[in-house]
């Protein structure tokens, strides 16, 4: 029997967001993928979802979802659950979908697994892979026969193309209750920034005295920009006046915990390590093979950061293209 996997597709500026499409592609590989699209742009988006794997799309083009998605979406999806019996609701971990998953699971008594990096549905049922604390991987399942929810880690899957597939469109016939519209959005402010704030950045590229001179710091900035991250600095080069204090990472500066930390020309004094040790992956480039930073690096490169950084920027641009 075919498994039916639902995906709630988030919209942004009238277009589906990438994370939803990634999960939709995974759903299509697991079985019959069905998408739910809610919001004023839903009708326009729905027909395009076939190409990303959806065989059916539930549509409710109501502006109420544009306000504050959580409560109206929970109400509508709960109604759908009352009428249909999908195997699973598969959602990427995003700000709103996380809120929605929590309420949906409680409202409908559904099992819920978060932070999945992969999942399979075989004869022996659902198997979800959840990494745990760096050293352990858990395989988990849901105990109930009813539909469950799996939230996946960002970027766990890639977008897949199903050229020529057209999705069946079904309009949901419902009105959103007043109880689900108790939250009002007063204003939405887009903060245009040149990149993420150092503390929030998923990628941090930082430089130290090994860059030689202040002018070379732009290699760090370039790489940070290409990786969508933020540039940072050691106390030594802030002290030397290359950069303002706001760039400083370390005991007396900022503490960062990005997914990727690239340390260029940084020896790795404990004062610096204290500010970045929590990073998930650390790449260090330094001329001195005895530099303490290498003990903390997942990948250590003995070499001159000044020559490697621009090459790396070029290489990443090439691979991304």
């Amino acid at each position: 029997m075919a498994n039916t996997i639902w995906v709630l597709v988030e919209l942004e500026g009238g277009a589906p967001v990438r994370s939803s499409l990634e999960v939709l592609g995974k759903a299509a590989r697991l079985g019959r993928a069905e998408a739910i699209v809610l919001g004023s742009g839903a009708a326009e988006v729905a027909p395009t979802l076939g190409e990303y794997g959806a065989e059916k799309v539930y549509v409710h083009a109501d502006a109420a979802y544009d306000q504050y998605l959580t409560l109206p979406a929970v109400e509508t999806v709960s109604k759908l659950f009352a009428e249909h019996q999908p195997t699973l609701l598969l959602l990427p971990t995003t700000y709103d979908l996380r809120d929605i998953a929590a309420r949906l699971s409680m409202r409908n008594g559904m099992g819920l697994i978060t932070d999945a990096t992969d999942l399979t549905i075989g004869d022996d049922g659902l198997k979800v892979t959840v990494p745990w604390g760096g050293e352990t991987v858990v395989t988990a399942t849901l105990t109930q026969q009813r539909p469950g929810i799996v939230l996946t880690r960002p970027k766990a899957f890639s977008v897949e193309q199903y050229a020529g597939r057209t999705a069946e469109i079904e309009n949901i016939n419902t009105t959103i209750s007043a109880e689900s519209q108790t939250i009002r959005v007063i204003e939405t402010v887009e903060v245009k920034s040149e990149g993420p704030a150092l503390e929030d950045a998923a990628v941090v590229v930082s430089g130290g005295r090994g860059l030689g001179k202040a002018e070379n710091f732009h290699y760090v900035e370039e790489l940070a920009e290409i990786l969508g991250g933020a540039p940072g600095a050691t106390r030594a080069i802030v002290d030397a006046g290359w950069l303002p204090y706001s760039y400083q990472i370390g005991q007396t500066g900022k503490t960062v915990k990005p997914t990727l930390y690239i340390a260029a020309g940084i020896s790795g004094a404990i004062q610096h390590l204290a500010g970045m040790k929590g990073s998930k992956y650390i790449i260090a480039i330094n001329k001195d093979e005895h530099a303490p930073i290498f003990a903390n690096a997942d990948l250590g490169v003995i070499g001159d950061a000044v020559s490697i950084l621009p090459q790396l920027s070029t290489e990443i641009k090439r691979r991304k293209a």
């Binding site: 080069i237 002290d239 204090y245 005991q251 404990i270 004062q271 303490p292």
Partner: protein, 707 residues
Amino acid sequence: MLLFLAALILFGIRAGQLVTLLTKARPEDRTDHINDRIGAFFKVVLGQSGVLRDPIPGIAHFFTFWGFILIQFGLLNLILGAFNGSLPFLGDNRIFAIILDIFVVLVTFSLIVFAIRRGIVRPRQLNSALHGPWDGFIILGLILLVILTLALVEGFEYAASNGAAWTPIGAFLHPLLGRASQQTNIIAYRSFWWLHMITVLGFLIYLPRSKHLHLMATPFNVFFRSYKPKGALPLIENLEEREDYGVSKVEQFTWKQLLDGYACTECGRCNTVCPALNTGKPLYPKEIILGAKEALFVRSGEILGKDSIYNKLGIAGIKADKTPAEKEAHHEPMIGGIISKEALWACTTCMACVEICPVSIEHVPKIVDMRRSLVMEESEFPQEVTSLFNNIERNGNPWEISNDKRAEWAAGLEIPLLAENPEAEVLYWVGCMGSFDRRNQQVATSVAKVLKAANVDFAILGPEETCTGDPARRIGNEYLWQMQAMQNIETLNGYGFNTKPETAKAEDASTENAEKTEAARAVEKLGTGTLTKHRTIITACPHCFNTIKNEYPQLGGDYEVIHHTVFIDNLMEAEKLKLTTGFDKRKLTYHDPCYVGRYNDSYDEPRRVLTVINDKGVTEMGRNRNKSFCCGGGGGRVWMEEKVGQRINQTRVNEALGTEAEVLAAGCPFCITMFEDGIKGVEAEEKMKVEDISEIIARAIEKPVTN
């Protein structure tokens, strides 16, 4: 007569008020070491040894001080003279008259020196926020008036008595005044006599409100100075039961801390040596002392209380609020008001101010007391410090590192844990920097090599060691320090390191050799296996060293702790460590860490070691020994960001670079860290390396060169 009485009463009230204020402050016992106190009184007060360290104003002050005292006797003589009497012995003594007049001349010259200094040279440290620019000149003017009137009194007296009342100045002035009639001379003599009296009495009344209060307070301040170890901050007792922690209101200082304010001569020597002030931070050590004095005067009415005689007389407020703005400023809290928080946080606790103060003022404990209030009562401190506190409390080290990993640096070096070798003669206290910081792990490794080369039977505590709490205490978190200290004391006592259990003490007394230093004795007994109950702790961290040695006794932990440079010096002296002399050919300078030098007076030992090992000896920086300029890392400053002014570490590195030395030798992990950052900051990596003394020695051991 009435005039005298009125003046004396007014003076009495003013002085009485000042003394009463001190009695309202917190108690503190300063009656120990009574012999030393008397000695210091002679040396510092009568001998003026403190001010004489700065020769020009020092000598001028010496003359003014003694001149002033002699004038008081002269004054008494004059008063008695008015009633046709005289002082016994001195009254008609020509020698006294000569001495007095010599001092009158010397004081006059001194006053000229002072006036030039204050008016023309104008060293920045003489500025006074409390008394304004005129107080100094008023005083100089008053002294001058006293001197001039005295001279004129003598002159006219000589003339009036036709030379019977002989004084050198009288005789000298006589030809100049001689033409007047006898009558005029008598009137002039009486007029100047009165003027002299009134000036002296006016001086007496003015004195308690001016910086010249020091005249009266300094002798007491010197007498009551601290004889506790310099490096020990005062303990806050009954931490869990009290209502206040540290000082937020001025009356929470002890009487001695307030006497500091009275005694301050506003000479500003503390300002000239402060590493924070000299790199552009808003910390003026002098203004901390004077700020507390001002806060005391502003609050005097409230402190003395409604029932005090002074309040009943309506004269309790020593310093009145002249304008509404002043009133506003005066009634805000002392910290953040008269004394700025930025100033308190800028202090590196380097002790240079305390060291240089000629009148035994203790700035650092005051600053820490106020930090204590900020930390423990207001939870207000530089934000970077939060993680330091949390990490020390949770992990027993300043970082987010599990304390289980404390001995990892020693893996493969065959260094036993004390748990494995509980009878080890020496405990090497590694400290957090030596244990976890990669740069200082190299120092720890070197220390271990040196100890092995000298066949010292030593061990480390490993995970049983935990942060001594020094940074927490100096930042003001007394609670955290006490928790850390108690834990360490329990561990050390558990291994029998305490020197004061009864048995050890008795054993100790018999072998005591007063001629030798603690370190020399410690080295002497190595390998003898006799003194297992009185064992030595050595450490390469002056901050651990200071707090264990000088502060743990406050909580019942008395240990023999020796800084590694001193220990190495003694190992060499006892020939347990034999090194090739002149092994190191590099030009080298040495930085005295504050907590080794000023805190514990070890200046010679590190230099001796370096001189043996280095063929050029030590090339000194301008500021060395007790004038050493802090690296910027003490007092918890290493854990805080330095955002204002120039960097202290770079300033010191530049000074070191000025000697053209290739090596900056240090003996403190914080100095090493600060200087290595400083060298990077001034981009001088190619010119200078920072090395711990143990690293230099370890190299000498590894590669002995025979010439």
